[in-house]
């Protein structure tokens, strides 16, 4: 997807625009957030397509399971949170519910706020221990 947001937009600013563009192109998108939709900007997609978005609360592991369920019905499921929580809090659910079913489930994980630190959000949101190598080792791309 080439996001139609401003060329210099931050990744999270482009995210809801990219989702909207996918829907307009005919992709059956469902997007979920876990109480950080103002930070991931996922709520902007929800304002445009309320029937295709919801927040599941502070429950990242359940969000992965719900997304896998949507994917099982043929939808393209996007889930978004801070990298420290997705995959940080729900690595097992990603492995067993998304990566391991035959062929893999069509779930797109959008991990925002990666890097060294996230400033005032504090240590629990700091992603420095969330290594992409953890994902590659479990059939996740």
């Amino acid at each position: 997807v080439t996001a139609s947001a401003a060329p210099a937009a931050a990744t999270r600013e482009a995210y809801p625009h990219a989702l909207i563009q996918l829907v307009e192109e005919g992709v059956d998108v469902v997007a979920l957030d876990a109480d950080l939709s103002v930070s991931t900007m996922g709520y902007q997609f929800g304002e445009k397509y309320p029937e295709r978005w919801h927040s599941v609360g502070v429950a990242e592991a359940n969000m992965v399971g719900i997304a896998a369920g949507y994917a099982a019905t043929g939808k393209t499921a996007f889930i978004a949170s801070f990298a420290s929580f997705l995959p940080g809090r729900c690595f097992d659910q990603l492995r067993t519910s998304v990566a391991q079913p035959k062929g893999g489930m069509n779930v797109k994980c959008v991990a925002s706020h990666g890097g060294v630190t996230v400033g005032e959000d504090g240590a629990s949101a700091r992603p420095s221990k969330t290594s992409p190598s953890r994902l590659r080792s479990s059939r996740l791309t």
Binding site: D33, D35, L36, S37, V38, S39, Y43, S55, V56, G57, V58, A59, A61, N62
Partner: protein, 130 residues
């Protein structure tokens, strides 16, 4: 100490069932600040539950009190300390929700309230912090 939005997380309930099971009621007090709101909106809109009954169901002695009334807070904590046979969950009543009628129906996003929303809320609680 936990917020009510935080009670969405499954790990909380794994701990809630383990504490009574392992007989730790004489050394753990859970304090829950029930302000009725979380990052993505109002707690009841995001995940409506009956958390008081849920804590009771897990075997906790739940004390509800008005978080604005410091005498009641003292009393609740003292009662919680006395309750050594089952864990005590000390439950503060809504703070922001109680403070202002307009904030009860307006989601203040993570970036914070607008100046107009702050002024309206201060008016509603009787001049507030002027």
């Amino acid at each position: 100490m936990m917020g009510d939005g935080e009670l969405n997380e499954g790990q909380v309930w794994e701990a809630a069932m383990a504490v009574p099971h392992f007989g730790l009621g004489d050394r753990i007090i859970a304090i829950i600040d029930r302000n009725g709101i979380q990052n993505d909106g109002f707690a009841d809109d995001i995940m409506k539950t009956n958390p008081v009954e849920m804590w009771r169901g897990f075997g906790w002695h739940v004390i509800e009190c008005d978080g604005h009334d410091m005498a009641a807070v003292d009393q609740a904590l003292a009662e919680a300390e006395r309750h050594t046979t089952s864990p005590a969950a000390w439950w503060a009543t809504p703070q922001r929700v109680k403070a202002s009628a307009s904030w009860r129906t307006t989601w203040i996003p993570r970036e914070g309230a607008t100046e107009q929303q702050i002024a309206q809320a201060l008016d509603e609680i009787g001049g507030g912090l002027k």
